[in-house]
């Protein structure tokens, strides 16, 4: 089954329709998703700023990581649950949104960035964790992380706009390709 068919099936399940048509539930899930930015991204930003040497310079990096991690994880879980519900309420349109697709690509990149940082530079954290300004490789990982998360927030906000939706034709060929629209030129 293709992903599009899967989304189509998802859209016709009872709870998806109920959530989509609900008066309050959808708004509440969306609000939770947006306000959890404070917890999840707020903590992630603080860690990145420490890695850039821009805040908490006197605290050891491993200490800051240890203290921020449980809160960041809690925020991430809330984000994934509320985000999945938002997708579940409007599966087909979201799947075919170029902003959603850009967001997913950036999320994967952000995850790879974390994994790469932890399996290389962070392994030797004890050698540099007391430095007020960490080494260049740590600063680059933090800068990339901040840029990717900013992109993820922006792309996420833009999903709400229907400028490039498949049902608004004609669109440039590249938009239809990126969104995976099924157009008349089949």
């Amino acid at each position: 089954m293709s992903l599009l068919r899967f989304c189509d099936w998802l859209a016709n399940t009872q709870w998806s329709i109920a959530l989509h048509e609900s008066r309050w539930e959808y708004s509440i899930v969306e609000s939770v998703h947006v306000l959890t930015l404070c917890l999840f991204l707020g903590m992630a930003v603080m860690l990145d700023l420490r890695l850039l040497g821009l805040t908490m310079r006197r605290a050891a990096v491993s200490e800051v990581v240890k203290q921020l991690l449980p809160w960041t994880l809690a925020g991430f879980v809330l984000m994934v649950i509320s985000g999945s519900l938002l997708f579940y309420a409007i599966p087909v349109r979201t799947y075919q949104s170029i902003f959603f697709r850009a967001k997913v690509l950036m999320l994967i990149s952000a995850g790879l960035n974390v994994w790469l940082f932890h399996s290389t530079t962070y392994r030797k954290v004890s050698e540099w964790e007391r430095d007020p300004v960490p080494p260049k490789r740590a600063r680059m990982a933090a800068g990339l992380s901040l840029a990717l998360w900013a992109g993820i927030v922006i792309a996420g906000r833009m999903i709400a706009y229907n400028w490039f939706d498949c049902d608004r034709q004609p669109q440039p060929a590249i938009v239809n390709w990126a969104a995976g629209c099924v157009t008349d030129s089949r």
């Binding site: 306000l35 404070c38 707020g42 930003v45 906000r157 400028w163």
Partner: protein
């Protein structure tokens, strides 16, 4: 001039008109508002979680509060600037929307509280302040800022 007249003036200002007439301006400004939200959330939560005694215990409160302060003030400035622009594009809607007034009340109280009581407690010698008092201050701070955020989100629902 009445308050409503002032709001009408904002709505019909060149800035308000420009944002309304543009397809891109409102969402672009809103993205700055959202990115500011993440930073201000981090700056507030780091200090309040420490004050509440549920994290960051290895750092003294005063040092953490000083470290977070420039990010709090910086993000607050981004929030107020982007928020003012968003407001001018729909000032009259805001005037008649309860969520807007809830948000502004919380914002006023949050700013006053943060730079008076909260600041004094966070910067004080830790042995001089009772833990319970710290927790209460952290709780009030988080609740006031949450009120600003929830009120703000609710302005979008009409």
């Amino acid at each position: 001039m009445s308050l409503l007249a002032f709001f009408k003036l904002c709505e019909h200002s060149a800035m308000g008109e420009a944002i309304r007439d543009s397809r891109w301006l409102f969402p672009v400004i809103e993205c700055f508002h959202l990115l500011g939200l993440a930073v201000i959330g981090g700056a507030v939560l780091v200090v309040d979680l420490r004050l509440a005694g549920v994290g960051f215990r290895s750092q003294p409160v005063a040092q953490l509060a000083r470290d977070a302060q420039r990010w709090l003030i910086g993000s607050l400035m981004v929030m107020v600037a982007s928020g003012t622009l968003l407001f001018t594009s729909e000032a009259i809607k805001c005037y008649y929307h309860a969520a807007f007034w809830v948000k502004m009340t919380c914002l006023f109280l949050a700013i006053v509280f943060t730079f008076t009581v909260h600041r004094k407690v966070a910067m004080a010698d830790e042995n001089q302040v009772r833990p319970l008092w710290n927790r209460l201050v952290a709780l009030i701070s988080v609740m006031l800022w949450a009120g600003v955020g929830i009120g703000g989100r609710w302005i979008g629902f009409s």
